[in-house]
Amino acid sequence: MEILQQLLSALPGSVSQGLIWGIMAIGVYVTYRILDVADLTVDGSFATGGAVAVVLILDGWNLWLAMLVAFVAGLIAGAITGLLHTLMGIPPILAGILTQLSLYSINLKIMGKANQSINVNKTELLVSLRWVKEFAFHNPIITVGIVLLLLIGVLYWFFGTEMGCSIRATGINQNMSRAQGINTSFNQVLGIMLSNGLVAFSGAFLAQYQGFADIKMGQGAIVIGLAAVIIGEALFGKIFKNFALRLLAVALGSIIYYIVIQAVITLGFDANLLKLLSATIVAVFLAIPYWKRQYAAKHVRRSKGGEKNA
């Protein structure tokens, strides 16, 4: 009973975190699912978003303007990865790792140190974990929830435009896209930019929420993003067909991820092993479609009986 109470009391925090990371996960969805590229830039650009926002807010900038600049910083980070890939022919995974590593230095330069705190008592912020249980408009669940829904709306619109459709086509079939006059290199850069813009935006929220930006805040972000995408698809894939709903599923996946993590911690799981747990879960879920195919292929071969090489 006590555990249940603990869980319930932790729920608003988990939901807030899940919502903030949901924006990040939607960014991952843009590259991983739409562009069909695994982009590791995000571990760096997430922290970049947090660092930029915190530094600008401490400097007295308008909060939303600081968020916008964080978004733009993410766009730039994505552009670097995109160009490393399309202009210099570096495989996307490696391109992302190179940018991510560079961003470590850049993030240090932005903050001037490895960790920059921002105190909600001294500085006005958009979101803070202090407010998670307040029944008010500035409760992070409401603020981030509204922003998240707006973002889903904008993305739904964008991926329905001529440009958005051409990005989707690029992710599905590059040969066909080029044959239809689509500049696939440009679209890849654009998609990776958009993804990292969202990721940095999410990082900017998280830094305010937790009251500091940290050089390591994006470590393993890609795994959390993927986990959210996979959980969302596993639970809602069958019922959510519409594109906007699929993005919503990713956000819900992220919320569920944080609730589960919180539950696991409350039940006494060693918090040091959390990342190992996350990685394992993601690895297993990534393997499932592969195993399914293998199983299906074996089945087909059997039922054809001896007719191999047919």
């Binding site: 435009t161 001529e162 440009m163 079939n173 066909m176």
Partner: protein, 265 residues
């Protein structure tokens, strides 16, 4: 008009895998010409189409489509002038997008992709009408994912996409080869219909000799990266498979061999 002037292409030059795929191709087509291309394995047929489409850069020579020198243009820019259908039905469409979305992508070939809507209500009606002509039952499945279609349906759709925005030149690379005979015939019929309707300048690679002779107003045969036989007009109409093989042997100095080409019907 299409002019291919002394185009050469060697793959993997300077390595053990060096392969001279095109050995000085010269070809002039007039508007409305429909050329069929035949040749053995590795003769360079696909490479010729890929050079026109800009899949790989040429080593030397130039390619001029409708008065525009496209030799140095990247693939996506040349697409403005070209419609393409590939051998593999998977290649020509985006499987994970709807039929109407694929058509809408094709309708914007050669245009800048803006922030306007990717597909309009008016287009949907047009596509429905167009799909009716194919007579494959696709007109009621506009929002179905293309991945659900059969190979023949996908090729017919790709053909429609390639010609939705009237191309200067239509490139067909064995686009019926992966289909069963009945479906192949259907797709070829649709091809002839579409090409005739807009009198499209067309190059069609085929491995079916009878088709190559029957369809179009000109026939070329390729061998070791060269065009070795070129028959047009009345002469082509009267051509038989035996004559064609003789022509081939006379100009290439070798027997025609291919594991795919059907020498009879």
């Amino acid at each position: 008009m299409l002019d291919i002037i002394n185009v050469q292409k060697t793959f993997n030059p300077g390595t053990v895998n060096e392969k001279k795929a095109l050995n000085g191709i010269n070809l002039h087509l007039d508007d409305g010409d429909f050329v069929t291309v035949i040749g053995g394995n590795g003769a360079g047929k696909s490479t010729m189409l890929n050079m026109i489409a800009g899949v790989y850069p040429v080593d030397c020579g130039s390619i001029i489509v409708d008065g525009v020198d496209v030799t140095k243009l990247p693939e996506h820019k040349r697409a403005k002038y070209l419609g393409r259908v590939f051998q593999d039905p998977m290649t020509g469409t985006a499987a994970d997008m709807q039929i109407e979305e694929n058509l809408a992508l094709a309708a914007r070939r050669g245009q800048r992709r803006t922030l306007r809507s990717g597909i309009t209500a008016k287009e949907r009606k047009e596509y429905q009408e167009l799909l009716k002509i194919l007579d494959l039952g696709l007109e009621n499945r506009l929002t179905a994912k293309v991945g659900l279609l059969s190979g023949g349906q996908r090729q017919a759709l790709t053909l429609l996409m390639a010609t939705l925005k009237k191309p200067k030149l239509l490139l067909l690379d064995e686009h019926t080869a992966a289909l069963d005979p009945k479906t192949a015939k259907k797709v070829l019929d649709i091809t002839e219909e579409i090409v005739a309707k807009d009198s499209l300048m067309t190059i069609m690679i085929t491995h079916n000799m009878a088709d190559a002779i029957r369809v179009g107003n000109r026939l070329i045969m390729m061998h070791e990266g060269r065009i070795v036989v070129d028959v047009k007009g009345e002469e082509k109409k009267k051509l038989t498979i035996e004559q064609l093989l003789q022509l081939f042997e006379a100009s290439s100095g070798s027997q025609f061999t291919s594991d795919k080409v059907m020498l009879s019907k």
